[in-house]
């Protein structure tokens, strides 16, 4: 069947609408002019100013630390949860799974409010700690789902073979299960980092007075007018996200390509 030309046009249009604003932001981040809407020449001036901006640097540092810690915590919790769920034959397994993935579906604004209420209830001082807890909480489902899918697709005879050959349960987990789910864990972590890096809503609710994350910083900057510096920052963030997302999907198929590469080597030899 011949492809309709309409579908090509449609896809082009959608991609255009989706990516044009981003493209504009990237282009204008190299604008020399102080006004974002007037183009007066190419320059890296705003990137320079960005680097010199101490508060901006601090926000970036906070964001990176926050993303890293919460991704690691979420990876541990999510992986353990997925492994546990795959083995236990509990009556409430379905309910548990639903509950565990709920944070993805609940509107962020509600999550933010809930966290705010909860933290003030237990009198936890707002700042990095509360941010880490909140971010970990909403990152767990991504890792849980990815690892669970990986486990479900995994032939259980691998673990049985290991047990049969003399491995205790723990040994079989570390020798067989863990290496086989690592790609899922890593791609889940990268996804978590990306989610954490661009979260505004929940962060605004749970951050302290002195702790700014990059997204919050950008958000507050907009109130005082968008400068090309913001554009530069957005461009960097966008790049980080793209790289994270790309890595995440590459790692999923990494093993296959490695086998292929080995085969190619053989052909050459």
């Amino acid at each position: 069947m011949k492809k309709l030309p309409l579908s090509g046009i449609y896809i082009t249009f959608i991609l255009f609408v989706m990516y044009l604003p981003i493209l504009l932001v990237i282009i204008y981040s190299f604008n020399e002019n102080k006004l974002t809407s007037v183009w007066s020449g190419f320059s890296l001036r705003w990137y320079g100013e960005l680097i010199r901006d101490r508060s901006m640097f601090e926000a970036l540092r906070n964001s990176v630390i926050l993303a890293a810690i919460s991704a690691v915590l979420a990876a541990v919790i999510g992986t353990l949860g997925a492994v546990g769920m795959s083995r236990a034959k509990l009556r409430g397994a379905a309910v548990m799974e639903y509950a565990a993935t709920l944070p993805i579906m609940v509107p962020e604004i509600i999550l933010g409010m809930v966290f705010l209420a909860f933290f003030s209830l237990i009198r936890l001082p707002f700042g990095m700690t509360t941010l880490v807890i909140a971010h970990t909480a909403f990152c767990v489902p991504y890792i849980l789902l990815l690892v669970k899918a990986r486990l479900a697709g995994m032939d259980k005879s691998y673990v049985e073979a290991a047990r049969d050959l003399g491995a205790g349960e723990l040994r079989a987990f570390f020798d067989i299960t863990l290496p086989l789910i690592v790609p899922a864990v890593v791609s889940g972590m990268l996804l978590a980092v990306a989610m954490s890096m661009d979260d505004v809503i929940i962060s605004v609710f749970v951050t302290g007075v002195n702790t700014n994350t990059l997204p919050i910083k950008i958000y507050t900057q907009i109130k005082t007018g968008v400068t090309p510096k913001t554009n530069a920052l957005c461009t960097i963030l966008f790049l980080i996200t793209v790289i994270m997302g790309g890595l995440s999907s590459v790692i999923g198929s990494e093993r296959k390509s490695r086998v292929k590469a080995d085969k190619n080597k053989e052909v050459i030899n």
């Binding site: 032939d155 005879s157 691998y158 049985e160 073979a161 290991a162 047990r163 049969d164 050959l165 003399g166 491995a167 205790g168 040994r171 020798d175 067989i176 290496p179 086989l180 093993r255 086998v259 080995d262 085969k263």
Partner: protein, 337 residues
């Protein structure tokens, strides 16, 4: 060496094993033969410790191992899909059980080389499982299972995924291996030819029970039941025909197809009247089917040469030598095998 005592097992209220008892001697090659769903894989998994029986006991060298974990049993398994660890190369796969036992590195290397040589895979030590063919994976799986010299090796339809030629070759190799290693093999298959070729003893399983256990010739020449007679060597079960041998009502006679004689009507021929219904090549010989006018039953003869003049539709006399009649317990209603 291994003894199963009335093992039962049910999954979700479906009874899979209904009291399986079996004894396996040291160095014996025994085959569990049965169609799918007869419980043979479950029996194997219970011996390996991957499944717990609901009742009954498993003894290995007179030691009760029913509640022993799979890793503490001196029994290894070759899985149906081989279950080679996809993230380890051949060498690492084969040496896995020795690494767990903290055997010295140099010794592992030596024994892995030996084990791979035994299955003629020593050139593939650095390959990943994904880069091997089915037959090669099979050999690696066997090397991995025998390297720690278990007392007993369990093989779950290990040749099922291979093509016919490779299967025949592997049958011979497995037999050779078993003799060289001197360890007992419990082999699972639904292929009667495979069972007859390789086994010291065959246990025919059906509906979660062992229907008959014996040497290949015992099973073939003297089946107890009509099911065994049909399953092993597809004998003709002739119900309601005049037989020479005396029988009780729940018995019938079985006659191997090579003993069935079909003759065109003539003055000298005798036997039961029938009509040729089919004539075809199967398994390297001509098989001619005929329907008995007396009972409407179908009989198959395989004793005719390629040049047999019989054609479908022809009237024939069906006969057999009285000595070739086997009296069997009639216990199957001609279900699919």
């Amino acid at each position: 060496m291994l003894r199963l005592e009335s093992i039962t097992k049910a999954f979700d209220n479906t009874k899979v094993l209904n009291g399986v008892s079996l004894t396996v001697g040291a160095g014996e090659f025994i085959t569990l033969l049965g169609s799918s769903g007869c419980g043979k894989t479950t029996t194997l998994r219970i011996i390996a410790g991957l499944e717990q029986p609901d009742s009954g006991r498993v003894f290995l060298d007179e030691r009760d191992i029913t509640d022993t974990e799979p890793n503490k049993r001196d029994v290894n398994t070759v899985f149906q899909n081989y279950a080679l660890f996809p993230h380890m190369n051949v060498e690492a796969n084969v040496g896995y059980s020795l690494r767990i036992r903290s055997v010295h590195k140099n010794e592992i290397k030596q024994r892995v080389t030996d084990a791979l040589r035994l299955v003629r895979m020593d050139e593939y030590a650095k390959r990943m499982p994904a880069e091997l063919s089915g037959g090669q994976r099979q050999r690696v799986a066997i090397a991995r299972a025998v390297i720690s010299r278990p007392k007993l090796l369990l093989l779950d339809e290990p040749l099922g995924a291979l093509d016919l030629q490779l299967r025949r070759q592997m049958q011979l190799e497995l037999k050779r291996l078993q003799r060289e290693l001197g360890i007992a093999f419990i082999y699972i298959t639904h292929d009667q030819e495979e069972a007859l070729n390789m086994s010291d003893r065959i246990a025919v399983m059906r509906g979660g029970l062992l229907e008959q256990t014996g040497s290949a010739s015992e099973i073939y020449d003297a089946p107890y039941t009509s099911y065994v007679a049909r399953f092993v060597g597809s004998a003709n079960i002739l119900r309601g025909v005049p037989a020479v041998s005396p029988m009780t009502p729940n018995e019938t006679i079985a006659v191997r197809s090579e003993n069935i004689v079909l003759e065109p009507y003539s003055e000298h021929s005798r036997g039961l009247e029938g009509v040729v219904t089919d004539k075809r090549f199967a398994g390297g010989m001509l098989r001619i089917s005929a329907r008995l006018n007396l009972s409407g039953a179908e009989v198959v003869s395989s004793r005719h040469g390629i040049d047999s003049p019989l054609t479908p539709g022809q009237n024939v006399y069906v006969s057999w030598d009285a000595a070739s009649e086997i009296i069997v317990k009639d216990n199957d209603a001609g279900e699919e095998l």
